[in-house]
Amino acid sequence: MKAGLLGKVGIALKKGGVLLDKGGVLAKGVVLVVGMYLFLKFILPLVTAPLPANLIFLYLALAVAGIIIFGTLSSESTEEFFGPIVRFLSGERQTGPMKIARLLVLVLFPLLVGWQTYTNTVPSDAPPAENRTIHPAPPGEFVGLSNPIPNTPENVMMGKGLFAAFCSPCHGGNFDGKGIASKGFDPPPANFVDPGTIAQLQESYLFWRIKKGGVGLPVEGMPWKSAMPRWELELPDEWVWKIIMGEYDGAHQKPRTWE
């Protein structure tokens, strides 16, 4: 069964090869370009990262240029290369499928050009794209501070209590950013359980964000959109440090360190 299948594939490949030999430079070129596209688009990503579309386009354009140069080296090969194209487009002595294919090309090409022109000239009606930096650089005075409060069970417990009182309405009793007051705000309150938030940050950074709040962000953090309060106006530093401790413990995360 398996051998039979392999045999059939072999015969098909042979037939294809014969056809290719007959087809000449143009057919080989087309097969090469299509094969290259399939390889770059589908086979290469199996072993490495997918290539960007414009890189694939560049490779194919180079291949096409090479094929045209190769196909037009001599006058005979030029005739062999362009002959089929000329015969196809001029439509002489064509019948059946070829005639229809030619008609299709002649109709589709202008439509494609029209479509491309339309999509490139129509104005966008989407809201402006927002490239908000979620964790922008803190001011110098908030870099490298260490938590002065001893990490004792009592202090962690107290931190969690303060978190429940002041932070959980937005950041959630489960530290997941889904508090009762979270829904109306864009950007949404940070989810501390997500490994992309406090686990990536130092305690010093959290101290800055809690004390200065949303309005303390630099322009790339879009401070005008943030609902985070400026807690330095309401809470003593000691409480802020305890809240940080409670946050890490409750979210089962560890602060980032440079060791």
Partner: protein, 274 residues
């Protein structure tokens, strides 16, 4: 056989044509990121929140949060979300808020907020930002108590002040447990320092606030002042007049492509017969 082929060509051609015709019209689905005020002919329902014309405007819906950003905070609010519709006629704009509130109370209120000018303003009354120079906000504040809409400005807490010149009109109607409040104003006013200027085609920021003015047993109001339901910034756009230039350019390009094909094929035929 030939007829079948002809049919096939027709079908494929038709499919491609229909893709070309449908795709440009199908704009982005109504994501609740922006209120889109359509351009309409004829009078706006500027002071009629129950006008049938509002049914033709597609609503955007935004969730509301209890105000927890600054003291005095509130833990829980009545209104959980607001539906917003808009339309304009090229000179004036009308914006309709619609939200569920189980009781009609004399102190019920709702407000729209916009940034004024090019500077960014914080959604909480344009309060100062540490590293960014902010601008003022323009607030349109409807109160059930006097049935009026106050045109106001703020730039920081405690700075909220009614403008000398009042430009905003509107009306609130309570029906079946729902408030419908319409706000309307001319798209642009001469006062660029205090008023938001709305240019068709441009996305601007908008935020919402709603107060349930129900009287509690203690005699205090359930929500008043900074104790209210709020949203942060979303987008608002007065839609521009339809722009057909894209179609014109496409037709021109098709004409050029057909001409190009014609010239090439004629040349090819001449070359072969020679």
């Amino acid at each position: 056989m030939n007829r079948m082929n002809g049919l096939g060509v027709g079908m494929i051609g038709g499919m491609i044509l229909s893709v070309g015709i449908i795709a440009p019209g199908a704009s982005v689905a109504q994501e609740s990121v922006a209120v889109r005020a359509a351009l309409v002919q004829g009078p706006l329902p500027a002071e009629d929140p129950t006008a049938a014309a509002w049914n033709t405007a597609s609503p955007a819906e935004f969730p509301m949060s209890p105000q927890v950003h600054w003291p005095t905070r509130i833990g829980e609010v009545t209104v959980k979300s607001v539906k917003v519709r808009g339309m304009h006629d090229g000179t004036s704009v009308a914006i309709l808020l619609e939200y569920a509130d189980p009781t009609e109370d004399p102190h019920d209120a709702a407000a729209l907020e916009f940034m004024v000018g090019d500077k960014k303003a914080h959604f909480a009354h344009g309060q100062p930002m540490a590293q960014v120079e902010g601008g003022p906000v323009n607030i349109w504040h409807w109160k059930k108590a006097n049935g009026k809409i106050l045109d106001m400005n703020a730039q920081g807490f405690g700075t909220l002040k009614a403008q000398a010149r009042q430009d905003v009109k509107g009306k609130g109607v309570y029906q079946n447990g729902t408030w419908k409040v319409v706000f309307s104003r001319s798209l642009s006013t001469g006062d660029v320092e205090h008023d938001v200027q709305i240019k068709p085609g441009e996305f601007i920021n908008i935020a919402f606030a709603i107060w349930d003015g129900k009287k509690l047993e203690s005699g205090e109001l359930k929500e008043s002042g900074s104790q209210k339901a709020v949203s942060s910034w979303w987008y608002f756009r007065a839609e521009p007049p339809p722009d057909y230039s894209g179609y014109l350019y496409a037709v021109l390009a098709i004409g050029l492509a057909v001409g190009f094909q014609f010239v090439v094929i004629r040349k090819l035929k001449k070359g072969r017969s020679a």
